[in-house]
């Protein structure tokens, strides 16, 4: 039986995710998304990944969701809530959800595909790995600047490309001369 904090945050996460999918108002969906991300961050804390939990709240629940809310406000398109409830779509979605959720339960609980290692036991094939799991942010920096130096630079370049792309996408289209 898992401990109470995990059950609490798992229920919070799944409930907020359901709110995200089920709500017909886009702002309520965004609020559900923020709550889901906070729940996932809490689960990161329970997994001793404190740095990632803080990063999740800062980047996702902070920056990304503010961007989402801003765009929702800008477009303010509430067309979906005025139409009739899409019963056929909802039934189909529920069927898909239960089918896939049954698959998830089978895969992780009964199929025996998961290795039964306790926490703290490194599998032998990973024992030569330079990155030991620690809770400090320093170990991130060490790995990022040694083993993952090239991916780090590529992701920096990706951010630059995204910056330029967004600027060129959001420029007013010029009046075309025929």
């Amino acid at each position: 039986m898992p401990d109470g904090l995990f059950i609490f945050f798992a229920a919070l996460t799944l409930g907020a995710a359901s709110l995200l999918v089920l709500s017909r108002n886009a702002v309520t969906s965004a609020m559900g998304m923020i709550l889901t991300l906070v729940g996932v961050a809490a689960d990161f804390f329970l997994l001793d990944a404190y740095f990632l939990g803080v990063l999740q709240v800062l980047v996702y629940a902070g920056a990304v969701m503010v961007l989402f809310l801003f765009i929702i406000m800008l477009l303010s398109d509430s067309g979906e809530s005025s139409t009739a409830y899409p019963w056929k779509q909802a039934t189909l979605g529920l069927a898909i959800f239960f089918f896939l959720a049954a698959g998830v339960f089978w895969l992780f609980l009964w199929s025996g595909a998961l290795p039964h290692t306790a926490a703290g036991a490194t599998p032998p094939e990973l024992s030569a790995n330079p990155g030991e799991f620690t809770t400090s942010a320093k170990s991130f920096g060490r790995l990022l600047y040694t083993k993952y130096l090239l991916p780090l630079q590529i992701s920096g370049f990706l951010l630059l490309v995204a910056l330029v792309g967004v600027v060129s996408l959001s420029k007013e289209p010029k009046n075309e001369v025929p």
Partner: protein, 102 residues
Amino acid sequence: MENTTLAHHLLLAGLLFVIGLTGVLVRRNLLVVYMCLELMLTAATLALVAFSRFNQTMDGAVFVFFIITVAAAEVAVGLALIVALFRQQKTVQSNELNTLCD
């Protein structure tokens, strides 16, 4: 932490992924579809952190670092695309975006 196993965390990540996938398939508002996509990405990061913690290696956590970076860039570009689409078509409902059908 003492009583949770790898299976519990993977179960949570899998259910989150399935909820996000259902949302992507069912919802029609492009912004909500995009949020569900982000939810699937977050579920994948949760599974990576769980594997990283239970295998005592740092690599999964570093992957999550990169995933968060890429997701931030992706959200910026995707939302700019949606805004450009709204400027042209005056809608973000995917069932009304049928210009190629006519």
